[in-house]
Subunit: 302 residues, 2 copies
């Protein structure tokens, strides 16, 4: 069964990796909506237009939102309050708004303080997908396929039908599972499953680059010596600095707490090394993998 898109007209602010991928996914669906896009990057916008990802392009965010049923804000987290400010006067109260920011608590607080009456219908989205590349060129209509999308209602009134329609939109975009969570809960989960991993990958790259700087190991040449393990662990270290500096700072409180958790976990392993406890380490690793497998099969009752 192919579901039809619950919106006839969608406006996307920010036609980069995420915005253009969403546009492409919806355009590939059974009954594609009319999609209008805005971005200050004229080249990206016109490229998206030429490729048929959007039906019209304007550099003006105010122009793009007028009369839209759904507005999707697909720009970096820290830019969103300014965009709210900008489009507030021209968005009609009947419009549903969403964004794709990776961090929600700060945004939600600003929304409640200044924008809840401006945008009475607002449900924040976060599809668990991304790439280490940016822009229209990196976009893919299958970016969201089989991924989970978090939905975080910002409006205090129960979103009811809006929530159901937005869920359908994400299903059509390729993300068949959605979980409705609160903004703090979202940020705690994300700090552990996404922001901490990125910070670890950045830190690992930093360790390697520092080792090059120190020149203490004669044949050191990590790029040519690395195997598949290091390649995997460094893939996300190439993620865009502007976006990721923004994300890590936006979620600093939860991330600092996740770093503490991680440090404790690393200490567990350090203790085995310091104590030269080979059998203890092996047995700990086995238990860890068994617990992780139980998590994967939802079988843990302890």
């Amino acid at each position: 069964m192919t579901d039809s898109c619950p919106y006839r007209t969608i406006s996307i602010i920010g036609v980069g990796l995420m915005g253009a991928s969403l546009a492409g996914a919806l355009k590939a669906s059974a009954s594609p909506p009319v999609i209008r896009g805005s971005t200050p990057d004229r080249e990206n916008g016109e490229k998206a237009l030429r490729r048929g990802l959007i039906d019209s392009y304007t550099p003006s965010n105010r122009e793009v939102v007028s009369g839209a049923e759904l507005v999707v804000i697909a720009t970096p987290p820290s830019s969103i309050p300014d965009i709210w400010e900008e489009i507030g006067p021209v968005v009609s109260p009947g419009t549903l708004l969403t964004d794709l920011a990776s961090v929600k608590q700060n945004l939600h607080a600003i929304y409640l303080e200044r924008f809840s009456s401006v945008f009475p219908r607002y449900i924040s989205s976060h599809p668990m997908a991304g790439r280490e590349l940016t822009g229209v060129d990196a976009s893919r209509p299958d970016l969201f396929r089989d991924r989970l999308t978090f939905l975080i209602p910002f409006s205090s009134s129960p979103p009811g039908e809006d929530l159901e329609r937005l869920k359908r939109l994400w299903t059509i975009a390729g993300s068949p599972r959605q979980t409705v969570v609160e903004s703090r809960e979202h940020d705690r989960i994300l700090s552990l499953i996404s922001h901490l991993p990125h910070l670890l990958s950045f830190s690992l790259l930093e360790t390697l680059v520092q080792t090059t700087d120190k020149k203490t190991i004669p044949h050191w040449n990590w790029p040519s010596q690395r195997g598949g393990a290091l390649k995997d662990m460094l893939r996300i270290a190439w993620s865009g600095p502007d976006l990721w500096g923004d994300i890590l700072l936006q979620n600093r409180k939860e991330l600092l707490s996740s770093i503490e958790d991680f440090t404790s976990s690393m200490d567990v392993f350090k203790k085995f090394l310091v104590a030269k406890d080979r059998e203890g380490l092996i047995s700990y690793l086995k238990t860890l993998q068994a617990k992780a497998h139980e998590d994967m099969h939802h079988e843990r009752h302890s």
Copy 2:
């Protein structure tokens, strides 16, 4: 130009992932050598025989080494001294020995103390390849393709022709680049490019599993919520506990020092978070990626 194998008969002790992959790679070469294999795991050994990876199978390490031109010990690092002890009396002095252990300093010390006159021709090998699976079933003839192999001469006499022949063997096995290093240097490099990444992946998995245990986040379900970033960062967390507990302990000294380096790197990022320094973080990430790119193109002269 296809090079021919520099050995006519090779004996492989341990027909698991690494040993069977090496056998498969050599058997796929232009002039495959006769390969004999031993392993206490009869099922694995007979499977390797049936698949044509080896020409004969015996559970006896003593039997397999007799008359071989080259003996490859492809068992976990901690088992190697016992195997040396076992085969010492039956290996002829003309035989070249190698092993595929991931850690070398401890082994080298034991070699110098007790085995240098037993095995006067010994060059340790470490191809930078592996998988998170074990056994003949996981083996692949292309496992070493385009990977680098470290060669660590254990014998004090200059290995000369042996080194050239062993290099040719690895080239034929798919690993066209070899770097000759000392055992301590090898272990320092490996602690940074392989053992630390594994420890980080194990520690990250531990953090996630602990979060499940604590039950403090209502909708927490990392296996279904994770995106591509976390999948990549956890791939090596499924590596075999017996082998990896062994490797991490064998290289504990260098690894503990690499953990210190990593902790300093993580502290750099923590400081930006604590100071709420978004611009500083972004600029640091940009510099880091630029330096890493320079490393990749060998352009750093600072």
